[in-house]
Symmetry: C2
Subunit: 338 residues, 2 copies
C-alpha cells in the first residue's frame, strides 16, 4: 500500500509508492501515445481500462452498472496506476520523529471527450459543460467517504505539463488530509476575514474589475484575471463573481457561463502562446459533514501554461521568478483575436 509521509520540519506531505518502487533505470520518461498508436481512452477500447465509474451517454447517465460501449460523451475511470487506493484502513503510524498515514484515497481519470484529437480549446462549450458536471458528480460522490478530506481536480495538458497519454483527460486525487497548498489558502483567507470581515477573493475581484489591467475576460457570472503575483508567466485565475466557497454548489445557469469563459480563455492562451502545454487545478473548500459553507473562502480555477522550468532557486526558496508582468500577459490575452 502507498504511504503518505510527512516532512517533520515543514509538515509537507508526500505520497510514497512503496508497492511499485521505480528503480533507477525506470526513470526514462515515456513519450505520450502518439496519433495513430493504440489509445485506451478512445471509444471502442472501453475493455482496455478499469471498469468505468461514470459515463454520460446519449440516452442515459451510466452509473457503475455496465461499461458504456463506445456511446459516451464523458467517461470516468479509475487510474490504472493509482497514486492512492480506496481499499484499506486509514492508519496513522509514528516512527521516532516521523509520521505516516496509510495511502488511502482515490485516483480517477475523467476522459473529457470521446475524440482523440480534441483539446479543451476545440470542444464545444456544451461538451465543456458536461465535463464540469462530471467533476461535480465525482466530488459529491467521493465526499460521502468519511475517510477523505479533500478532492483535488486537475488537468495536465501536453507532455511537458506531465500528461502521459495524449487523449484529452482530467484527473482527480482524493486525499485523507487537506493538502498544504489548500490549507495555506484557507488559513490566509481566514486571517483576512477575521481582520476585515470580508472575503479576500471578493476584494480581489472588486479591485481587478476597477483596475482592469489584469482582466483577461469577464461575463455575467465569472471573471478571468492574471493574478497580481503569478508563479508563472501567463497564469490565469477563473473566479465566480458572486461569493461561493464550494464548486459543487454551481447552478445550471452559472455552469454554462463558466463553460463559456473557460473555453474562451483557453482559446486565447492557445492563440497567444501557440498551443502551450498547461496545467489547471480546481481549488474548492474542503467538505464538511455539516455542509456549512465558508464566508472566507472562494472557489476558483488556476490555469498555468508550462513555459518556464522550476529550478534550484524556486525549489530552495519557494519564490518564483516571473519574466512577464501579469499586466502585459493580460493585455496579450485580452487582445488575442479568437
Amino acid at each position: 500500500m502507498p504511504e503518505l509521509r510527512k516532512d517533520p520540519i515543514i509538515g509537507r506531505w508526500v505520497i510514497i509508492s512503496t508497492d511499485r518502487g521505480r528503480r533507477p533505470a525506470d526513470f526514462i520518461v515515456p513519450k505520450p501515445e502518439t496519433r495513430g498508436g493504440f489509445c485506451p481512452f478512445c471509444p471502442g477500447n472501453e475493455d482496455k481500462t478499469p471498469p468505468e465509474i461514470l459515463a454520460y451517454t446519449n440516452d442515459r447517465i451510466n452509473n457503475k452498472e455496465s461499461d458504456s460501449n463506445g456511446d459516451w460523451h464523458i467517461r470516468v475511470i479509475p487510474n490504472k496506476f493509482p497514486a492512492l487506493r480506496v481499499e484499506g484502513e486509514l492508519e496513522r503510524v509514528g516512527d521516532g520523529v516521523y509520521d505516516m498515514i496509510s495511502g488511502i484515497g482515490a485516483h480517477e481519470i475523467i476522459i473529457d471527450s470521446p475524440n482523440h484529437d480534441d483539446t479543451l480549446a476545440t470542444i464545444s462549450t456544451k461538451q465543456f459543460e458536461e465535463m464540469l458536471w462530471a467533476y461535480i458528480s465525482r466530488l459529491k460522490d467521493l465526499r460521502r467517504d468519511t475517510r477523505l478530506r479533500y478532492v483535488l481536480i486537475f488537468k495536465n495538458h501536453g507532455e511537458a505539463a506531465g500528461a502521459s497519454l495524449e487523449h484529452t483527460h482530467s484527473q482527480l486525487i482524493a486525499l485523507p488530509i487537506i493538502p498544504k497548498r489548500v490549507a495555506e489558502e484557507l488559513d490566509g483567507s481566514l486571517s483576512y476575514y477575521k481582520y476585515k470581515e470580508r472575503c479576500i477573493f471578493c476584494d480581489i475581484i472588486r479591485q481587478e474589475l476597477m483596475q482592469k489591467s489584469r482582466v483577461v475576460s469577464e461575463n455575467k457570472h465569472f471573471l478571468a484575471v492574471t493574478p497580481y503575483a503569478p508563479k508563472s508567466p501567463f497564469e490565469m485565475w477563473l473566479l465566480p463573481k458572486e461569493h461561493c466557497s464550494n464548486f459543487e454548489d454551481t447552478t445550471d445557469k452559472h455552469m454554462s457561463s463558466l463553460a463559456e469563459i473557460f473555453s474562451e480563455v483557453l482559446k486565447r492562451m492557445d492563440k497567444v502562446l501557440g498551443n502551450p502545454p498547461y496545467n489547471y487545478i480546481l481549488h474548492s473548500a474542503p467538505f464538511h459533514k455539516d455542509m456549512h459553507r465558508l464566508a472566507h473562502y472562494h472557489w476558483h480555477f488556476e490555469i498555468m501554461p508550462k513555459l518556464t522550468k522550476t529550478a534550484g532557486f524556486e525549489w530552495g526558496s519557494g519564490f518564483y521568478i516571473n519574466p512577464t508582468p501579469p499586466e502585459e500577459a493580460a493585455e496579450f490575452l485580452r487582445k488575442a483575436k479568437i
Copy 2:
C-alpha cells in the same frame, strides 16, 4: 526595476522582471551552449562577462581590483541578466489588497572550475573545497548589506534542471526578505524546539544513524541521507553531525570533510542514475545583526536529481508523488561502486 510581489492569500512572494518583460514569442527555450561553441565562463573570455567580484587565483585572492585574466580556479561574477539588482532604494508599496517591495538584491554566478567539461563529480575535492569557500566569502560579504535578509546559494546542473549555460557554475540570489521555504523550516524547527528543547535536525541525524536504512554515506563530520519524506526520487540531504545553524561558521577541518562527502555522493548519484540533471540548494540560518546563532536550526544542503515532472497535482496541492521509497534509493546509492 524588478518588483517583489506578494500573493495576498498565501503570502508567497514572486519576482516580476518588469524591465525585461518576456513577450509570448520569447518563450522558446534556448539550448545550453554546446561544446565547441563560445563560452563566456571559460578562461580567456573574462572580458565577455560583467567585471568579476571575486577570484581565487594561483598566487593571490583577487578581490574586485582587476579581472584575473585566465589565471583562476574559482571566479565569481554578477549575473548578466539578474533577477534582482543591488542599486536603488528598498521601498514598500501597497496597492489595495496587494503588497510590493522594490526588487533590491543581488544575483551572482560562481564559476566552479576553469575547465569547461568539468562537473562537480569530476573535479578534485580540493577544487570542490575552494568552491565552498567562495560560497562563504560571498555570504559574509553580502550579509553586510543591511537591506538584505537572506542569501540563497543553489546550483542548476543540466538543461532539464534549469541550467542555461553548460560550463559548471553555481548561483546565489540575495533577497530583502526571508523566503517562504526557509521561513517554514525556521518556524517548524522552532515549534519543535519549544516543545522538546532539542534541534529537530539533530534528532533526525540521531534517528538516521540508528536506523541506517536511509543513510547514503557518512564521515567524521557529515551525514548524507535520503530524507524520510522526499519531494523527488533519490533526493539527498547533507548535514553536519554537530549542531550548527550557519554554514559560514564551517571551519577548515570540517570543510575538507564536507568537500569529500559532497563529491562522493554526487559521484554515487551519477553512477546510479547515469549523470542526471540535478539541483542543489544551501539552507542556512538568516543573518542576524547581533550574530547570534540559532539553537533550533541546522544548516544543510538538499540535492535533488531532476527525474520527475511537477504537474497539476503537485502544483495544486503542495503534495509530491514519489515513485521510489527513500530506503530503496539509499540502498542503490550506498551500494554504487564509485
